[in-house]
């Protein structure tokens, strides 16, 4: 009789083997290669912090063949990067992705990697599943997935897989101060779409530096401490010393309130800034811009 332990073992090894065919080694840093996932035919997703050079990137596929790859783009906010390969003769077929609801605390999971020729596996648990959250680099992630699992070479950029062989997300060790976490597949799909379309994740940008100031005992606003004259706010007539009190009639009292309002969807749209200028309430309407590359680099 085959024991349940053997059945579990077979299921885990089969899940590793099945998804492992899509796990690749990426040579874009010194010494040990990092892991990536062939998410679609010709498109590899990985953890962006493992990509340390943007040229001469070589990817080793599961069958051992090497292929040159180009960086499509990276998003430090969610720690994701996309690379492009020449499409293969044997497209990998659609990725078997688990829905967000299937990610539950206590689930047995495998972290797969390929820090070289061989596939590697580690076993652990989903230790907690939280709400959607924003990383300290400003990226929006659909669920906080905290893992109880060992971090070994090739952990970041590899897939998190359940016992049925479904991909739950992409692993990374840098978003939670070194603790293992996974970026859910839904977030990967969204960010990948933006990277393939724009080469980066558009982020709303006003071009002002702000500091919280008290306007009265009850209310606070954001004083404009610097203005990029060529930026959206500068062109829209925002001046140094203005105090921003609202965006689109929503009160703001912390720079984080402004960031929360400036998601990708706002780029190119008008935003009405409620101001206090020289003691008088007024407003200006600006067109939300896309954060320039230099600014994004600075925040990486």
């Amino acid at each position: 009789m085959v024991s349940m332990l053997q059945t579990l073992s077979d299921n885990l090894a089969t899940a590793a083997e099945r998804v492992g065919r899509r796990v690749v080694a990426i040579r874009a840093r010194r010494r040990i290669p990092s892991s990536g996932i062939l998410w679609r035919d010709g498109v590899v997703v990985t953890a962006q912090h493992t990509i340390q050079r943007e040229e001469d990137i070589v990817i080793t596929l599961s069958d051992g063949t090497d292929a040159p790859a180009t960086l499509v783009g990276r998003d430090p906010g969610t720690d994701l990067a996309a690379l492009r390969l020449a499409p293969t003769n044997a497209p990998p077929g659609p990725l078997d992705v688990a829905p967000l609801e299937a990610i539950r605390a206590g689930s047995l999971v495998l972290a797969l990697g390929r820090p070289g020729a061989e596939l590697t596996a580690a076993l652990g648990l989903v230790s907690a599943v939280g709400e959607p959250w924003r990383t300290w680099h400003g990226g929006r992630i659909d669920r906080l997935i905290r893992l109880d699992i060992g971090i070994y070479d090739g952990f970041s950029g590899g897939p998190l897989v359940d016992a049925e062989g479904r991909v739950l997300g992409v692993n990374t060790s840098t978003l939670l101060r070194g603790a293992p976490t996974a970026i859910p597949a839904a977030t990967v799909e969204r960010v990948l779409g933006q990277l393939l379309e724009h080469g980066h994740v558009p982020t709303g940008y006003l071009g002002v530096g702000m500091q919280t100031v008290a306007l009265s005992e009850q209310s606070t606003g954001l004083m404009v401490m610097s203005v990029d004259p060529a930026g959206p706010a500068g062109r829209g007539g925002v001046l140094l010393g203005d105090v921003i009190t609202a965006i689109d009639d929503k009160a703001v009292s912390d720079p984080a309130d402004v960031l929360a309002h400036l998601d990708a969807g706002q780029v190119g749209k008008p935003a009405r800034l409620g101001l206090v200028r020289a003691g008088q309430s007024t407003s200006v309407t600006v067109t939300v811009g896309d954060r320039p590359i230099a600014e994004r680099r600075r925040r990486r």
């Binding site: 090894a13 089969t14 797969l112 590697t120």
Partner: protein
Amino acid sequence: MSTADLASDVSRAADALRRVTVEIRTNRRGLGAGVVWREPRAIVTNAHVVGTHQTCAVHFADGRTEEGRVVRTNENRDLALIEVAGAGDDVEAAVRRDTTPLRAGEVVLALGHPFGMSGALAIGVVHASGERWIQADLRLAPGFSGGPLADAAGRVVGINAMVAHGLGLAVPAAAVEEFLRA
């Protein structure tokens, strides 16, 4: 099937492994594990468990303690062969897995005597399997050295030898066979 079945499978596999695992002492402090590899008398452990000692005390799972003679060591493979004169024919030898390759993600069990605790179990999965080492994602401690690494069916696949970067490293059974033939 339930998780209770899974737990009883694990304890059954651990019991089977305990019967073929011995404790090896070279002096009052030194403690390692060993595997009854074949017949009642040939015991395999790590070279670093016996060090430079010619003899050691071998404590069997049934409670007997016999004197073991270190027949051969290979520092490079960290293996040692110990023969026990007095062990009876009722001592079981380990069941070894055939040549079916280990797959990443397969469940593996390790048995040892960490910090003097006899017959402790560790469970994890195969991280990667090479010719020189089996890398296992499980938590080992001093005292697991020389003990068995086994698959989900309780068949021995290697001898635990060390911990590196948090991974357990075991000498594959094929390398043990080669050492015994040499």
